[in-house]
Amino acid sequence: MVTYIIRRLIAAILMLLIVSMVTFAIFFLVPRLAGATPEGMASRYVGRTANAETAKLAAERLGFNDPVVVQYGNYIKGIVFGAEYDYGPGVEKCPAPCLGYSFITRQPVLNDLIDRFPVTLSLAVGAAVIWVLAGVSIGVLSALRRGSLFDRAAMTVALAGVSLPIFFTGLISLVVLSYGNPFSIFAQGGHYTPITENPIEWAYNLILPWITLAFLFAAGYARLTRAGMLDTMNEDYIRTARAKGLPERTVVAKHGLRGALTPIVTIFGLDFGLLIGGAVLTESTYSLQGLGKYAVDAITNNDLPKVMGVTLLTAVFVIAANLIVDLLYAVVDPRVRLS
């Protein structure tokens, strides 16, 4: 088990290196291949530069004249040991792990990410609680009353849920429930209060984004749970559980749902891992300053260090989620033996 985890951790680090290489190549190698000069790159990097002289100096000092491989090496070195950027008038320090430094905001990217992360995490955790509870219970009820009116209604809504994009459901929810109309019971977008300051306000401000995001996911989970329950409730071990004289409630929850749980746990791990790397659409729709909004803004502003940083962080989350899901598999299904 321990060797398995170590092996998986090494694989995870290799995976991260590959992700970083690909990302770095996209943002630093491809423009060069497309004909961008080191000066041009540097000017994008540091923002508007007045004249060619300054741009040339910046390119020199920030290492854009080096081969791309060396630049990549420096980037990785920065993550491990920290980096210093000499941009002319002074030196900006970026301590390890340095995910790059934005000269547009004059901030190490990591500090931004640390600032933004609680917003995205709050959004993801709240939405996850809602969608797992709602999705799984609707799925179970649908499976138990297969073909009933409830089942058909729930599955129709679920189909809408997986099909409708966030920027549609999100905007509808904002128009109907916010923005100063008679039903404006929820906060408008753009407000975020840290949970440590005021938990009630924190939740109040996040309810609409939670519901919007949860609607999308709950729909998929309801369908997944329903399919799984239809399978397991026909298993022989369910008949055995009934033959023991267990109440139907126990049969469904302890035996049926337990058997259907494996795919749900798997999908949940992957969904959640991806989501805490930034819920781009939800955060943009509700103007929440989370990692997803951060990524969008960085791309809009062509702020390459930020894009690199947020991409790497998302990759870390996804890879970690994969690893955790694989480890959980052995806990959820005792037939899976890790060796």
Partner: protein
Amino acid sequence: MSRADNSADASPAPPSYLELRDLRIHFPTDDGLVKSVDGLSFRLDRGKTLGIVGESGSGKSVTSLGILGLHNRRNARVSGEIWLDGEELVTAPPDAVRALRGKKMAMIFQDPLSAMHPYYTVGNQIIEAYRIHNKVTKAVARKHAVDMLGRVGIPQPDRRVDDYPHEFSGGMRQRAMIAMALSCDPELLIADEPTTALDVTVQAQILDLMRDLQREFDSALIIITHDLGVVAELSDDILVMYGGACIEYGSTDDIFYRPEHPYTWGLLSSMPRLDREPTERLLPIKGTPPSLINVPPGCVFSPRCPYADRTGDRAATEVPELLETRAGHGGHGGHGGHMVRCHMPPAERRSLWENDVKPMLETT
């Protein structure tokens, strides 16, 4: 024993521990009404064993599930009476039947790998079965589970109790399944094809175990199987089912040495036996079991019966009644003696058996 005699509404509780009276379990489907069990009656006392034999689809498993109330309640139509220890189960509320399930009546299923939950340890599954009906602490129930595993012959039960079903061998799993079924000392035990999924060597062990445990618990035992060898070992009485109904009922000796129904003859001749001259091939029953939706008119077995033409039109028009052919022998189960559902007169059947069928079985 015609059906009309049994359909009285307020029948008094019977003296037998278990009695089925004209049990019918029908399932309406899109294709028509499936008559899985169609007018089945039998009696069984504690300490006795009844073997129910029949091909796949003859209704034997549905019968057992019906007794436990495990048939699909949403689409089954059940009529008739099931009396268990003075209680009628068909009209009893589902919760009352549930309370009896696992405690007073328990079931051993065919394939112990799929019949046990893969995600819970064997011990936990036995503990669960015990604790529903006995208000005891987990520790007490666990000790009981270890005891039960030991009693069904699982070595090192205190260690194996924490294993998962997939860590057991097939025979061990069936033993664990039996331990689970017996955990609340049920008075009625139904074993549905208990040895079908097992190796032949293990089959004998499991049958021995079931016989010993039945004596120990003094329970009524129903063994459902398509394997005549299994019921020969264990049963006092044998009920042969065909097309959802009983076509022959008698003591084990009746069925093996004096069978009177052509279908039973067919079952006996299609059974491989070591004490018989090896023939080139077994003698299968021609044709396939009847569809339970479009049951053949008249005698259900007539389309496959080699002697159907001996009774003329009656085979295809008139449903034969289950009639006593010889009074009970007093020994064994002794309920209702030997009964056969066939149009042929008893003398003709006996002569056919003695002169045509039996010699084929013995020599060929």
